[in-house]
């Protein structure tokens, strides 16, 4: 497994310090695919990495593959349609399951113990719903890969080989934020995990989410808020036991303890860790150890463990 370092958002950059602390002084492969068309705009990232960055241009490779391989483009379109449909269906079920939780919470129980037992069952049902949804998404992705024989397609194989060569000349990999679904797809399509070797991985924002075990989307302050946190896909699993919550204080109703408690209970035993500005979470061999970063407790409050 790889050593992984999760960072808070880089509006106030901490990347350069992190790289220095890790003793990295060689080239560093960068993944900026989450920013899609803006993938090449990586001057600031390059500066933070001492002008040693090697942009893997995974988004551009994806676009190139779609242009070059019409069958792949059509299958990719169908894949996205199926995922969108699955997500919509899952969200409908999730919405009603959440309504059930809310109804139980407001039920004037004569015996609170009975209500708590029902509540525990209701949370368990949501956990099962989340898990089943991830399985279904996996099936779509597996079908896509198998039916298309992805690894045998010339344009994909060519780009994978190029990515492997580029990564091979670097000392570490840095994965930036952006659109987490796009980022995750590019990481998978071009087989990044297969060429990492033992290189350390540094990731932040959407990058941190994409390399965790499952991608959990959330935005309590969006136009139609509060929405429900939703699982979107299984991540690369390079760091385990953690649900990274970048921008948590800007996106979550941190002070709504019941809401936050439900979030923690849905994903336990994985810990929901707040990755705000300046945060740094070290995961040696991909395992998340003790941290003094704020973690959402089962009581819905933020707790900092002793490191």
């Amino acid at each position: 497994m790889n050593d992984v370092l999760l960072l808070g958002p880089q509006r106030r950059p901490t990347l350069a310090d992190a790289v220095a602390d890790l003793g990295l002084d060689g080239p560093i492969a960068t993944v900026n695919a989450g920013w899609q068309e803006r993938e090449p705009d990586d001057r600031e990232l390059d500066e933070l990495l001492g002008e040693r960055s090697v942009n893997l241009r995974l988004y551009a490779r994806w676009a190139d593959a779609l242009r070059d391989d019409d069958e792949l483009a059509q299958a990719d379109r169908a894949r996205r349609d199926r995922i969108d449909e699955l997500q919509a269906l899952y969200l409908r079920r999730l919405h009603h399951a959440m309504e059930g939780i809310s109804a139980l919470r407001h039920h004037a129980a004569r015996d609170p113990g009975l209500r708590d037992a029902e509540m525990a069952d209701a949370v368990e049902e949501i956990r099962r719903l989340d898990a089943r949804h991830l399985d279904r998404i996996d099936e779509v992705e597996a079908d896509f890969a198998q039916q298309l024989r992805l690894s045998e397609r010339p344009v994909v194989a060519e780009h994978r080989a190029a990515v492997a060569r580029l990564v091979g000349g670097t000392e570490a990999v840095a994965i930036a934020g952006g659109h987490v679904a796009v980022l995750l797809h590019c990481l998978r399509l071009f087989g990044l995990t297969g060429v990492l070797g033992e290189r350390p991985v540094i990731a932040w924002s959407a990058g941190a989410m994409a390399i965790s075990e499952r991608v959990v989307l959330y935005h309590d302050l969006a136009v139609h808020s509060p929405g429900h946190a939703e699982v979107h896909a299984r991540g690369l699993g390079l760091c385990r036991g953690v649900v990274p919550l970048p921008h948590a204080r800007r996106r979550l109703r941190i002070d709504d303890h019941e809401r936050m408690a439900l979030l923690a209970r849905r994903f336990a035993p994985a810990r929901c860790v707040v990755l705000d500005d300046g945060a740094r979470l070290s995961c040696p061999d991909g395992a998340t150890g003790a941290t003094d970063l704020p973690t959402v407790g089962l009581d819905g409050h933020l707790h900092a463990e002793a490191s």
């Binding site: 483009a73 379109r77 952006g178 959407a206 959330y218 939703e230």
Partner: protein, 384 residues
Amino acid sequence: MLHVGAQPLAIDQLRHGGADAAAVDRFLDAHDVPLVEGATGTFLWRGEADAVRVQHWVVGLPNPLPMERLDGTDLWFAVTDLPEGSRVEYRLEVVHGDHVDNVEDPRNPNHAHNPYGSNSVVHGTGYEVPDWIELDEDARRGELRDLVLHSAALGRSVHAKVYLPARYRPTARYPLLVVHDGTDYLTFAAAQTVLDNLIHRLDVAELVAVFLDPGDRLVEYANHEGHARFVADELVPELERALPLIDHRGGRCLMGSSFGAIAAFSTAVRYPDRFGSLLLQSGSFAFTDIGSDHGGGPVFDPVVAFVNAYRAEPTRVADRLYVTCGTYEPMIRGSRAMVPVFRGTGAEVRYVEARDGHNWENWRDRLRDGLAWVFPGPQKFVYE
């Protein structure tokens, strides 16, 4: 007289202080016009006249609202309820003998424009002009392209504008928003700027919009078979041939306000499998429960016949409906009555009321909520 708690209104303080010309000068210098104090608005006009009235379009208030002359001065005033969050358009009628000047409020800098001219606007406590209607330097601009299409269904050429979002890519796929009264939405509801901003902010998905204008609006938008056929069988297929659009109902939305909402709704009724969403603003949902006196005049006859028929046998016309109406406009009764009918068909309905009237800025102000609901942006996917 109305008061804000124990605090007397400013106009009462002026009156009880023995107002003269100099006091009126000081008063007007010290206050924005109209005066908004809590949930009360005070309209003001200064000058010689036989009478002054406030013309407005708020159902429930006397219209016109007579102004009273402050004793010993040439200051006219009228005090009215102005609930929190209200936005009211008005004009002043200044009467000299048999002559009436209908003018905007010369002391109020806030104006709203519409196809017939402009009105003064008073903002109640708590109302804020949305920041997403203003040009945002950071937001890349989409492109408006002219489209000319000969319609066999309408028997005329249709001139429309097609909005392509910034960073438009032929390899992507976009949902389609069909906008009735398109030029008015662009002109009076800042639709292009709104789309640019909401897409830039990730509130709304990157989309293609087509802005349509009617021929004879009161005919084509009043449950017109030719209009529906044009939209469903001519316009949408043509756009789908020319542009990378999502080719199923989930990616298509019809939008309109007033009669335009009826055009959108009646098109969906005629083609129930084509459109996944409707965005209906202040729809002219006129109907009768008994008899035939709907009070809307002959132009509403086909609308009433259509809405009555639909209410008698409601059918599911879309998966999701965003319905909005101003509480100060006559259409509110129809909108409130239609919501449970729509819901009864199994459609998902979001219904929003605003303390506003039947006007373009009301419709503008609801666009973020409506569009973000119909075609939500990727905000939840993007983590900087």
